[in-house]
Amino acid sequence: MPDNLLFAMEATLNGLTAGVMYALVALGFVLIFKASGIFNFAQGVMALFAALTLVGLQSGQVPFAHLINAIFGTRIHHFGWNMPTLLAIPATVLVMIGLAILVERFILKHLVNQEPIILFMATIGLAYLLEGVGDIMWGAEVKALDVGLPKGMSGAVDDLTFGWFGYGFYIDRLELWAAGIAAILVASLTIFSQYTKQGRALRAVADDHQAALSVGISLRFIWVLTWSIAGIVALVAGIMWGSKSGVQFSLSLIALKALPVLILGGFTSIPGAIVGGLIIGVGEKLFDFYMQPIIGGATENWFAYMLALVFLLFRPQGLFGERIIERV
C-alpha cells in the first residue's frame, strides 16, 4: 500500500477522534438550543470553568485566593489537602448546577421574549463574565488535569495496524476513551429525553413554550434542568480537553470550533452534532494533510468555518436540522 494513502488513513482516524472532541462541545450547544432556543456562546467557557473548578477542588486550592490576598494582604493559597477525583467530580457537578440556577435566576428570567440575537449577545456577555470569574477564582495559569484516564499511544491500535499494513497508526488512548464516553453520554441523553418524565417535559418545552406552560410544565425548572445538563456535558468536555492539552484559556476557543460543527449538523439534532463533529474533524485533518505543501500549514484555524460557510449556501438548516419556514 502506498505510504501516502497510509498517512491519509492515519490522518482520517485522528480526525475522527478529534471530531468526537468537537462533538462533545457541540452537544451542550444543541441541548440548550433545543430547550430554550438560546444559542449559548458561553458553552466553551463553561467547559473551561468546569475544568478549572475540578482542578481547583482536586488540588485543594482556596477559591478567590488571589483576590482575598490582594484585599487583605494575606498569603493563602491551598487548604493543604487533595480531594480524591471521585469526590471532586460530583462536587464540580454541584457547582455547575448552582451556576445553572444562577443563570436562570439572574439572566434568563429577565430576558424572556427577547429576540434570539439579544439572547445570543447575552451569552457572549456571560462568557466574558464566567471567564473573569473562573480566572479570579482559580488563577489563570495553565494547569494539568489528571482524572486517571489513560494517555499516550494506544499499543493495541499500533499493533493491529502494523499487522495489517506494516505501519503502526498513532492514536492517543485518551481520544479512544473520549469516543467511548461520548457514546455513553449520547445514549444516556437519548434515554433520558425519551423515557423519563422530565425528559419528555424537556422535549415539550423545546417544541412549544406556550403549549408546555399550558399543560403545567414549569418553564423555569426546565431551563435550570437544561443548563445543568449542559453544564455536566461541559464538564465532560472540559475533562477530556483538559486532560489532552491542559486547562487553559484556549479551551474556551474550542467553543468557536463547535459553531461550524453545529452548522453542519443542524442546531437541533443530537446525532447531527456527532456527525458534524466527525465531518469537521476528518475534513480539517485531510485538508491540512493534502494542502500543507501548497498553501502552508495551520489551515485548521479556518477550514471548519469555510466548510460551514460553503455548506450554508446550499443547505441553511444543516444536515439534520428542521426546515426553516419563514412567514411575514
Partner: protein
C-alpha cells in the same frame, strides 16, 4: 436657553430633517467641535493621546461601521477584527508600494479595499441570517488572519512577520512612525472621525439608511414594499467595512506603528467593537461614541484605581476587567437593551419638559 421645544413647531421640511432640532443641542455640537479642533490640541500630551484620546477616536470609527451593519441593517458580524486587519495590511502594502502617495489617500484606499472584502464576505448574508451569518463572518475572521500571518507577501517577507509603518507626513507634520507628535496623531484621527460620523449620519437618514432599517425590521416585508435586499445588504456591508477598514488603517499606521495580525486584530477585537456597539446603543450614531468612550475610558480608570491606587497585581485587575465588562453587557441587555443612547434619549425627553413637567 438651557433647553427648549416642547411641541411640534416645524414649518419646513428642512427644519424637520435637522440632526439637532433643538437650538441648545446645535450650539452644544458646535462648541464640542470647536473644543475638539481648537482646544484639545493645545493641551494634549503623549500620555493622554496614547492611553485614551487616540484609541477612543479610532475605535469610534470602527463602532460607527459595525453599528451600521448590526444596528441599522441587522446583520450580525463577528469579523470586525479581521476587517480592521484588512485595512491595516492594505494601508501597509500601499505605503510600501507607493511611498509618494499621501497617507490620507492611503487610508481611504485601504478603506475601499476593506469594503471590497466586506462585500465578498457579505454575499452569504443574502441566504443566511442571524447567528448562521455570525458563523459565516467568523470564517472571514479566521481565514483573513491566517492569510496575513502565513502568506509572506502580505508582510513583505519581513523575518518577524510584523508590519511596521514608515514615517509619512501631512502638511509637513509627520503623522505616522516614531517622529509623529501627539497633536498630529490626534488631528488626523479627529478629521477622519468627524468625516466618518458625518457620512454615517447622512447615509443612515437617507434612502439607503431607510432601506437598511426596513431590512433589519423584517426582511421579507421590506422586499414586498420594494426594497432590493441584495443592494441594501451589500451596501451595508460595504459602508460598514469601509469605516472599519479606515479605523484598522489608522490603528496600525498612527496608533500602533507596528502590528502582527493574530495579536493586534484577533477575535477579541471583534468582540470589543461588538460590545461598544451594544453598550453604546444599537442603531444610534451617538451610541457608537458613547460605547467607545465607555470601553476605552472604563478599563483605564479601573486600572488606575486598582493597580495604581490600591496596589493590586495587574493580572488580577485584568481579570476583574473582563468580568466587569461581561457583567455590564448582561446588565445593559437586561435593563436597557438599547444602550447608553437610549438613556440619553430619555434624559432629553425629560429635559424638553423641564422645568414645568405636566
Amino acid at each position: 436657553m438651557l433647553y427648549r421645544e416642547a411641541g411640534d413647531f416645524k414649518t419646513s421640511y428642512v427644519a424637520d430633517s435637522q440632526t439637532f432640532p433643538i437650538k441648545f443641542d446645535r450650539f452644544g455640537y458646535y462648541a464640542i467641535l470647536a473644543i475638539a479642533f481648537l482646544g484639545i490640541p493645545l493641551v494634549i500630551n503623549d500620555y493622554w493621546a496614547n492611553s485614551i484620546v487616540v484609541p477612543f477616536l479610532i475605535y469610534t470609527i470602527a463602532a460607527l461601521g459595525l453599528n451600521i451593519l448590526i444596528g441599522y441593517c441587522g446583520q450580525l458580524s463577528l469579523g470586525t477584527g479581521a476587517f480592521m486587519a484588512v485595512g491595516a495590511y492594505g494601508s501597509y502594502k500601499l505605503m510600501t508600494a507607493f511611498p509618494e502617495l499621501n497617507i490620507i489617500f492611503v487610508i481611504i484606499a485601504a478603506g475601499v479595499i476593506t469594503a471590497g472584502v466586506g462585500v465578498l464576505f457579505g454575499l452569504p448574508s443574502l441566504r443566511i441570517k442571524g447567528f448562521y451569518l455570525a458563523v459565516a463572518t467568523l470564517a472571514a475572521q479566521f481565514f483573513l488572519i491566517w492569510l496575513f500571518t502565513r502568506q509572506a507577501w502580505f508582510y513583505n517577507y519581513s523575518p518577524t512577520g510584523m508590519i511596521s509603518a514608515p514615517t509619512r507626513e501631512v502638511f509637513g507634520f509627520p503623522v505616522t512612525g516614531p517622529r509623529a507628535s501627539a497633536v498630529s496623531m490626534y488631528m488626523i484621527c479627529l478629521c477622519f472621525l468627524v468625516a466618518s460620523a458625518w457620512l454615517a449620519r447622512n447615509l443612515t437618514r437617507g434612502t439607503l439608511g431607510r432601506q437598511w432599517m426596513a431590512i433589519r425590521d423584517m426582511d421579507i416585508a421590506a422586499e414586498i414594499i420594494g426594497v432590493n435586499p441584495l443592494m441594501a445588504k451589500l451596501t451595508a456591508f460595504a459602508v460598514s467595512s469601509f469605516l472599519i477598514g479606515i479605523s484598522g488603517a489608522l490603528l496600525f499606521t498612527v496608533y500602533l506603528g507596528a502590528a502582527e495580525a493574530g495579536e493586534a486584530f484577533g477575535i477579541d477585537k471583534s468582540f470589543l467593537v461588538l460590545f461598544m456597539v451594544i453598550i453604546g446603543g444599537l442603531g444610534s450614531i451617538f451610541g457608537a461614541f458613547a460605547g467607545a468612550a465607555f470601553l476605552i475610558v472604563g478599563p483605564v480608570m479601573l486600572k488606575l484605581l486598582l493597580v495604581n491606587t490600591l496596589g493590586w497585581p495587574t493580572d488580577l485587575a485584568a481579570h476583574l476587567e473582563i468580568m466587569i465588562i461581561g457583567a455590564l453587557i448582561l446588565v445593559f441587555l437586561i435593563v436597557e437593551p438599547h444602550g447608553i443612547a437610549a438613556l440619553w434619549r430619555t434624559i432629553k425627553e425629560k429635559l424638553r419638559l423641564w422645568p414645568f413637567p405636566y
